[in-house]
Symmetry: C2
Subunit: 153 residues, 2 copies
Amino acid sequence: MVKRTSHHEADCFIARPLDAIGDWWSLLIVRDAFDGLRRFGEFQKSLGVAKNILSARLRNLVAHGILETVPAPDGSAHHEYVLTQKGRGLFYVLVALRQWGETYFSGPGEPYTFMVDTESGRPIRRLEVHAEDGRLLVPGDTRLADFRNRENS
Amino acid sequence: MVKRTSHHEADCFIARPLDAIGDWWSLLIVRDAFDGLRRFGEFQKSLGVAKNILSARLRNLVAHGILETVPAPDGSAHHEYVLTQKGRGLFYVLVALRQWGETYFSGPGEPYTFMVDTESGRPIRRLEVHAEDGRLLVPGDTRLADFRNRENS
DNA sequence: CAAAAATGGTTTCAAATTGAAACCTCTTGC
DNA sequence: GCAAGAGGTTTCAATTTGAAACCATTTTTG
């Protein structure tokens, strides 16, 4: 039985999130959800994804608590998909991915979109990683520490 | 001809990065590369991935300029895979993903690893999104603005 | 030095996933 | 009443995945 590999049980806080999200379509669904899309048909039109795939991905996102279904506000029999708090937590992942994309994937003369602060309409700052005391950290300034057996010392 | 969907040409700075990365395995390879792994065998042992898959993913990451091959420093005939500057730019994506994972995927009593500042050994701060003027922004405070036809007004 | 083992892959092939299209089941609108 | 739309599910061929076998070079060991 050759099953697709799952990182569900991986003892890694990168692998498990990736496993929960599922695949690239799912992250694009989350992106669209941040843009205010809520209905099956809206996602389908925006993404151009096959309906069976969209259906499976929405189900997975709901199962992992990233989206939840709510009754349609217009009283129709259908429901809508909205981000949970956990799902909104993916905001930083999307911002990071987008800033990386802006930096390395914008061809000259191409359409260009910025993420801007709604209030001022000005582009947001680049993400930065800071130490507890505020120092700016760059890749290589961090490591992983295991707090598994931390005593209350 | 039913081909796998590519977001290569998508006019979206989230879709294109996702397309370049390839799949979840690739991001775990990048994670390992940040942890200092460089050799085919090291990645294979760390990830437990099939060699053919690893081979294809490394090739893809190199093709997209995220990794590059360099001659092995011990003078052996083999080469090593190291992050390019573009690859190191994924640091923020990994930090975002990890913080999300720490928040929502840590079971009680489970092994727990923090990302810490190497210098102090203390956990790093959470990522924050800031407006140009420094205001802290939360999900919903941003939108996308199209600078395609920006006149020099 | 010869044999064995490790490194870094490629090839093969069955099983799983993907995606396009057809189909189904309500609700609405007219 | 009846056609259209929303929101899916089913079907099925093509593609991708992953385990294992294989192969060509080094490197180590006896």
